[in-house]
């Protein structure tokens, strides 16, 4: 719709999309054998959201702001199972669960509740195998006095609460400028790479601040658990790995100059200078909060698993994807 005498362009979409007959690869108990039972069209998922775009076209500049919010829920799986795990299981376990009533691809693990302060703290807490001062304390979610597989719960979701884009443009004389800014907010990232550069799987290189900022009796509010070779518990899949993945990025900035038709060389051509991914503002401490879709297939069948393309079940897990590059380019647009 157009508002204010044509000054503002507004487009709003409100939707509630029910997707039925999703392909589902059921898990049977092991006593039924390993052979995959037939994949069935039986899953149901709902996406509810709003997309909007609001823009203004002035004499020599224009701006458009678009934003979108959605919420995703698994409505039913096959009527019998209420959950199934994600498609990729890493060395420390499977961090994704798809559970009825929750978004697809939710993160699943223990809830990390800080570190044990001392031996008294260990004794007062629920029985946690391998607990010691300086190690991560896990919350007793079901209140049964011991920390075991039943204390795992949903600890985050890769789905953003809000994504937004801002397109700016201006033209003055022979110069033109355009910029696109993109941002996503409220999504979480499961930083699986901490397996390597915090918990030192395979004795890899570690974060620079691991030595200075690990728990010691003098440094109780540290960022990392105590440096301890026999610590088998802190590395367990938990909310310690879940980070905020919100970011704002200047995706594209282009400055162009159109040569006048009377110019000696390339009359009428447009010359431009473009930068991609110029800056990113984020609190995420990994390499790049903009993660590509993971490869959920096998070596022989990349991307596609038995139930088809399951990449939507595995979003927001950072397993060392190559980060985006900042690119500068120069271009000429002309015609002969």
């Amino acid at each position: 719709m157009v508002l204010f005498n044509g000054a503002i362009n507004l487009v709003v979409d409100v939707y509630r999309r029910n997707t039925n007959n999703l392909l589902f690869d059921p898990s049977l108990p092991a006593t039924a054998g390993i052979a995959n039972p037939p994949i069935v069209n039986i899953g149901k998922m709902r996406n509810t959201g709003i997309d909007f775009s609001i823009g203004h076209q002035a004499a020599w500049w224009n701006v458009t702001f678009n934003g979108s919010h959605y919420s995703n829920t698994i409505v039913s799986i096959d009527g019998v199972q209420t959950f199934f795990y994600g498609p990729i299981s890493t060395r420390f376990g499977n961090q994704i669960i798809n559970e009825v009533g929750h978004p697809i691809g939710s993160f699943f693990g223990y809830v990390a509740d800080g570190f044990f302060r001392d031996a008294a703290d260990v004794a007062a807490h629920a029985t946690q195998d391998g607990a010691a001062p300086g190690r991560i304390k896990f919350r007793d979610v079901n209140g049964d006095g011991k920390i075991d597989v039943n204390d795992r719960t949903i600890i985050g979701s890769p789905h953003p609460k809000f994504t937004a884009g801002l397109d700016l443009g201006a033209r003055r004389g022979n110069f033109d400028v355009s910029a696109t800014i993109y941002g996503t907010y409220g999504n979480k990232i499961f930083e699986n790479q901490m397996e390597f550069y915090v918990f030192r799987e395979f004795e890899t290189n570690v974060r620079k601040d691991l030595l200075a900022n690990s728990w010691t009796p003098q440094n109780l509010n540290a960022k990392y658990p105590r440096l301890d070779v026999s610590d088998l518990v802190s590395g367990n899949i938990s909310s310690f790995y879940v980070k905020d993945g919100s970011y704002t990025r200047l995706r594209n900035l282009q400055v162009g100059y159109t040569l006048p038709s009377t110019a000696t060389y390339l009359p009428g051509a447009r010359v431009y200078l473009q930068g991609d991914n110029l800056f990113t503002k984020t609190n995420y401490d990994g390499l790049d909060p903009a993660l590509p879709a993971a490869n959920t297939g096998t070596a022989n069948a990349p991307v596609l698993s038995a139930a088809g393309d399951t990449r939507d079940q595995y979003r927001g897990v950072d397993r060392g994807s190559y980060p985006s590059n900042r690119i500068f380019s120069v271009g000429i647009v002309t015609s002969f």
Partner: protein
């Protein structure tokens, strides 16, 4: 006018096409109601070839299959994690953070999510074996009903017998791990031929069912196997004796095992190097009762039949390349020391385990020659790969200086996978013994001790010791090539040119050890006899994935004393063991995998009842 009617025709055709397209597209070819397209249904396999193929599949499930292989090695045929590492035979090995599930298992934290991965793997593969055996039986029945001439009577009985035997074996594997297991027969399937969900029975009931199946197999199987490696009537009888000893039915066990020993085709290999070997001509020899028929260079593109389950268990900085797991413990190496009389030091000297030193070839204390068939240690030839050195381990601070040896092939055997897969040098066709004749003799001795026949037990123990005395590791010289890290000749010039891998125990070429293993002259009491048989069992079967199951069936007091005593000492040698839990009553059984308990839920209740304490 003409144009309008043409248009109407076009429009009509288009609408008709759209409607029919829409109706066709609504066909439910992936719904649960119809038999989905592209699935393999049993009717496709209803031929003699299908039956035989399914039966071979049931044998194949003895070791990790492609589907159970990742992520982990809980499915290994040899049970090296559950039987050796979790007991006092070996440490996990490799580096501290590698394969975290084994850390959990070794530390008796079996409820944590890591350890559960491996426990679940073992459950999955064991019951896959049951499913395959039962599928064979169902298919056989269908084929015989449809075309009675497809199998000769002898073949039909043999197929049925082999399948029932396999079913009994897999259930016995489950029984050893979890005790209270569900028992599945071939008719316990739903309309879609998928096994139903059922509750687990008690371990006593499981034993009864296993023995019932074994008796059925005995009645059906031929006395000679249809092919090497297949089950025969004697396999089933020998196995029955094994189950009886495990279940404490000693008198019956003596009868069963005595029959197999006297009348059966089995015998001890004269030379120990032919027991665990990659040489094809010695595979399935007289000592083999039941083994995983590993096979390499057989056309499987990744060599996955070549002991996938063992591929981590090789010394690291060697031709093999990876991965340094399953490292024998200091405790185990000390256990092979003998006293002046040639009997195990552990029986007479309470300080047998005092030394935390690396037991290299320089040590002069006399040892049982089986030490150097079981453990790779410094200064001793490692089969025919040259000398072993403590630097070959991945991380001595984590796993000690020793390496496993039984599962390694000899270079001259040609059993190494040539190409394919992630690590062909670590894949071979050494047949993994699951039950061999020496094991049978010692089970018989155990039953005889419990029945009071001490002299009978001693005779059987002495048979095993006599064979141990026949050969020891020799020079195993090969001309130097890239696969040899340290040539034998560099430390032992006399070895140059001496290619013998096995030599008499007092051979002059042996400069790295004093071997001594003598016969028992008397078992003065039942207590002594019991301990002597148990000691012999460990010496003979170390690193073969049996130890933990033996310790558990000898009772909580015995197992707890052994394990907790082991940890108390070993944590001074490999510091990570300090974080181990104490062995208590609940560790007599592994927990049924939590995932499987959840998946057994119907109508809100779990059909599988968890073991006590988990």
């Amino acid at each position: 006018m003409k144009i309008v009617s043409k248009n109407r025709l076009l429009v009509g055709t288009a609408v008709l096409t759209l409607i029919s397209g829409g109706l066709y597209g609504c066909k439910d070819f992936l719904s649960t109601n119809a038999v989905p397209q592209g699935t393999l249904v049993e009717s496709t396999l209803q031929t003699a070839g299908g039956v035989e193929g399914t039966l071979v599949g049931a044998y194949r499930a003895l070791d990790c299959t492609n589907n159970t292989s990742g992520p982990g090695w809980g499915c290994a045929a040899s049970n090296w994690v559950f039987g050796s590492v979790v007991a006092d035979d070996s440490y996990k090995g490799s580096t501290n953070t590698d394969q975290p599930p084994i850390n959990d298992l070794e530390g008796y934290h079996w409820g944590g999510p890591q350890g559960q991965i491996y426990i679940n793997q073992k459950w999955v593969l064991t019951y896959e074996g049951v499913v395959r055996a039962n599928s064979t039986l169902r298919l056989l029945k269908k084929v015989l009903a449809a075309s009675p001439g497809a199998f000769s009577t002898a073949d039909a009985h043999a197929v049925e017998g082999e399948a029932i035997f396999l079913r009994a074996h897999y259930h016995f594997e489950a029984y050893r791990m979890w005790g209270n297991i569900p028992y599945y027969r071939e008719d316990e399937v739903d309309a879609g031929e998928i096994p139903i969900i059922k509750a687990n029975e008690t371990s006593a009931e499981a034993v009864t069912d296993i023995l019932k199946d074994l008796d059925a197999a005995i009645a059906l199987l031929p006395t000679t196997p249809r092919a090497k490696g297949r089950a025969s009537q004697w396999t089933a009888k020998a196995y029955k004796g094994r189950v009886q000893v495990y279940a404490g039915q000693y008198a019956a066990a003596v009868t069963t095992l005595q029959d197999v020993k006297t009348n059966g085709p089995y015998a001890l290999e004269k030379s120990y190097d032919r027991v665990w070997t990659g040489f094809k001509q010695f595979a399935d020899g007289p000592e083999t009762i039941w083994a995983y028929q590993a096979s390499s260079n057989d056309g499987e593109p990744n060599g996955n039949n070549a002991n996938f389950g063992e591929r981590l268990n090789f010394p690291y900085y060697t031709h093999f390349g990876c991965c340094g797991f399953n490292q024998p413990s200091f405790n185990l190496v000390n256990f092979y020391k003998v006293d002046a009389a040639g009997l195990p030091l552990a029986l007479s000297d309470p300080n047998w385990n005092a030394s935390s030193a690396n037991f290299t070839a320089a040590a002069t204390a006399p040892v049982d020659p089986r030490l150097d068939w079981t453990v790779g240690r410094e200064g001793v030839p490692y089969k025919d790969w040259g000398l072993y050195n403590s630097n070959m381990v991945r991380d001595a601070g984590n796993g000690g200086p020793y390496s496993p040896k039984k599962n390694a092939h000899e270079q001259a055997s040609g059993s190494e996978q040539i190409a394919g897969g992630w690590s062909p040098t670590q894949q071979n066709s050494v047949h993994m013994h699951l039950y061999r004749f020496a094991d049978l003799l010692l089970l018989l001795a155990e039953a005889q001790v419990e029945g009071g026949d001490l002299s009978g037990a001693m005779a059987n123990v002495n048979l095993v010791r006599a064979r141990a005395d026949s050969t020891a590791q020799g020079c195993g010289y090969r001309p130097t090539d890239a696969s040899i890290v340290i040539a034998v000749g560099s430390a032992y010039p006399g070895c140059v040119g001496d290619a013998r891998i096995a030599v008499p125990t007092n051979d002059p070429s042996i400069k790295w050890a004093t071997y001594k293993v003598s016969q028992y002259t008397s078992f003065p009491s039942q207590a002594y006899a019991r301990e002597a048989v148990r000691t012999e069992r460990r010496l003979e079967l170390a690193m073969e994935g049996q130890r933990f199951f033996d310790l558990r069936r000898w009772g909580l007091a015995y197992a707890a004393a052994a394990i907790n005593g082991y940890i108390a000492v070993e944590k001074t040698r490999v510091t990570y063991k300090a974080s181990a839990d104490a062995f208590v009553a609940k560790h007599l059984l592994f927990p049924i995998p939590y995932l499987q308990v959840e998946l057994s839920r119907t109508g809100g209740t779990d059909n599988l009842k968890q073991n006590t304490g988990w």
